[in-house]
Amino acid sequence: MRWQDDPVLEVEHLKMRFGGLVAVNDLSFSVGRGDITALIGPNGAGKTTVFNCITGFYRPSEGMLSLRHDDGTTLLLERLPGHSISWKAKVARTFQNIRLFTGMTVLENLLVARHNPLMLASGFTVFGLLGLPGFRDAERQAVEQAKFWLEKINLIDRADDPAGDLPYGAQRRLEIARAMCTDPILLCLDEPAAGLNPRESHELNELLLSIRQDHGTSILLIEHDMSVVMGISDHVVVLDYGTKIADGTPEEVRNDQSVIAAYLGVEDEEVEHVEAEVGL
């Protein structure tokens, strides 16, 4: 199992408390390098909270989050300041409710993701203000990279339109492309398929597979859509009430009694839905 042999992220005994509420309790799992790992669980299980801990938006009450780079350096994410997690640790994320810069163009959205490298190239604005060629080249490269991603997500024709004007599915894809423009080694996606129609959902699967294949980026995703989860993930972690109830390959999890029970514990509709998806 890759997540045991070569993990890119190891979550150990993670606990997140909000006042009296324990949203995540003693959670340990690992994310394999180059894997697509799905984090699933009923509503309110604490999935987004785990993401917020990994990406520095919350400071965990307890636990350790260690990220291993290819070259063997290990970073403890819970100790890094929020903005370093993207820049130094190379972890990127998207949000459950899309957070694009709606009043900026699609291209501008992607360039903001290149902030740190461009800032260095512009000599912290000084060289840029003087119009030195070093910065021009860096900016041209950033635009090329943006173009590459726009071709990939089929939005190249809308590069100069405001992001807020895009249809919902396109906004979801753009948010993923924007996260990818930070050159992450781990990409965390919070319900990327929510609100997509079946065709868009299929395209999303293709996009995620190609991200993994072409860029070697490991993907950690939260998803309710079981066709996405079972279709593309190599590893599934199931969360219920903040604790891990199952961890394994999609086949193992599909047949796990506690997982079925956890979903049975929720509304009937959802159970039927899940049972249909997992083929019960």
């Binding site: 903005h83 900026m104 360039l111």
Partner: protein, 467 residues
């Protein structure tokens, strides 16, 4: 779609002019009745009675029910008309709103060179129009005043318009700049050209000092704390008498020189150096071009910054701070740079103010000043450079225009002073703006980089920031 067929306009036109239905009239009547009742309630304590004195000097109440009735009737009629119009509008099919019509954009395209041309030739125009350099004094003075506010508006635009941080104490940096020049030049005798950059640096420094504790606050809290900071600076200037000479201010600040050559009638003054007859207006014209250059530098730097990563990060911060953090932007430092650079331009403008006046006192840096600069930014359209310039001309130029409307005296009698209605008109104009152009005069955003085609972004998509 049916609306695109040639017949459609006739249908929509018919709908727009269709008579209001009975239900609509009834609703409008009810609304108008409520408004009239409210007016009645309000006008009883305000309008209904007037205190008068009789011969014995005793006070008695003079009833004025006619006036109350007139007010109620007026409000009733206005409200009724407004409701009917609104009802008809709602019934008419909504037309999609174009982000910015091409005609308007073209207008802005012409506006920029036109403005620049007028600004550069303004002293000549004023001289020609008033038949002599001496006569143009008033107009050139007004030009200098307007340009000072244009520069201040552009400086604050970086903080409020681009970074979306509501700063109500911008005048503090203006004051820091003015006092920096005043103190450095009177104490050490340093020249204006040395003090100008120093004043900017000092103001930026104060921007950072203020920013560190304050920028973790957001929205209303940030606004209130910056407001307090503006007041603190003013109170320090008043009370630190040893340094600032308190409320009396600092006078006899050295005047501006033509890069070392003084503007006086002496042998090596400006006039004799160039072999032209001496005129006190030379200095005024020089000051005019000085502030024009300073303002244009502010503008050029801002335009450039917008296209650099730091400027894009400011705008991204205004749009969504959380997303910025997830993309690795250090939000605190980015806000600080906006604050510091905005403050620096405020400092430049302040030291210009000091050299123009030759006198500074804390009175010049009260909250009203901050409010005017902020209104210029908001009226102009947050983030738009052209809008800010137009708004500054309107906000500073219009009251001066009001002062010169002498013909109104013939209409309303000799005792009528239109200038007294300045704040009333200002308030009405603000309300009208918020109704018709809530995003300011220039309500769209220009993208900072373009791949194939430049398109303006509708103001409704652009966020205003929340601190």
């Amino acid at each position: 779609m049916a609306l695109n067929t040639p017949h459609a306009p006739a249908i929509t036109a018919a709908e727009v002019t269709a008579p209001a239905t009975g239900a609509q009239i009834a609703a409008a009547l009810r609304e108008a009745g409520i408004a009239a009742l409210l007016t009645l309630g309000l006008s009883i304590p305000i309008l209904a009675f007037k205190t008068e004195q009789d011969q014995a000097n005793a006070l008695y109440l003079q009833p004025r029910w006619g006036m109350v009735a007139a007010a109620c009737a007026l409000i009733f009629a206005l409200r009724f008309a407004l409701c009917l119009r609104a009802a008809r509008r709602a019934a008419a099919p909504a037309r999609p709103k174009a982000p910015a019509s091409p005609a308007l954009q073209k207008l802005f395209g012409i506006a920029v060179p036109l403005f620049l041309g007028v600004a550069v030739t303004y002293p000549m125009l004023a001289t020609l129009a008033s038949g002599g350099l001496g006569g143009a004094r008033y107009w050139i003075d007004l030009g200098i005043l307007i340009l000072t506010y244009v520069m201040l508006g552009w400086g604050l635009n970086i903080v409020v318009g681009l970074a979306g941080l509501l700063d109500l104490g911008y005048v503090a940096f203006y004051a820091v700049g003015a006092y920096s020049y005043a103190l450095l030049s009177t104490t050490f005798g340093w020249s204006f050209w040395l003090c100008l950059p120093l004043a900017g640096i000092l103001a930026a420094f104060w921007g950072i000092i203020l920013g560190f504790p304050v920028l973790r606050l957001r929205g209303d809290y940030l606004a209130i704390v910056t407001l307090a900071f503006g007041e603190i600076i003013r109170l320090v200037l008043i009370n630190w008498v040893d340094l600032t000479n308190g409320g009396a201010g600092i006078s006899s600040i050295p005047r501006v020189t033509f890069f070392g050559v003084p503007f006086d009638s002496s042998e090596d003054g400006f006039a004799s150096l160039f072999g032209i007859p001496f005129s006190p207006m030379h200095r005024m014209v020089f000051l005019y071009y000085l502030i024009l250059v300073l303002a244009l530098i502010t503008n050029l730097v801002t335009i450039r910054l917008r296209r650099l990563p730091v400027g894009r990060a400011w705008e991204a911060l205004r749009e969504d701070e959380i997303a910025c953090r997830s993309l690795g932007i250090n939000t605190r430092n980015t806000k600080l740079t906006a604050f510091a650079i905005g403050a620096m331009f405020g400092g430049f403008a302040g030291s210009f103010f000091a050299v123009r006046q030759g006198f500074v006192s804390p009175e010049s840096f009260n909250f009203l000043e901050s409010a005017i600069i902020l209104s210029i930014v908001v009226l102009g359209g947050m983030g738009s450079q052209v809008g800010v310039a137009i708004a500054a001309v309107l906000m500073v130029g219009a009251p001066e225009l009001l002062r010169n409307l002498d013909f109104l005296k013939q209409v309303f009698g000799a005792g009528f002073d239109p200038n007294e209605y300045r704040l009333l008109i200002f308030g009405l104009a603000m309300v009208a703006m918020m109704v018709w152009r809530p995003r300011g005069l220039v309500g769209h955003r220009e993208p900072s980089i373009v791949l194939t085609e430049r398109k303006a972004i509708a103001g409704s998509l652009v966020k205003e920031g929340h601190g």
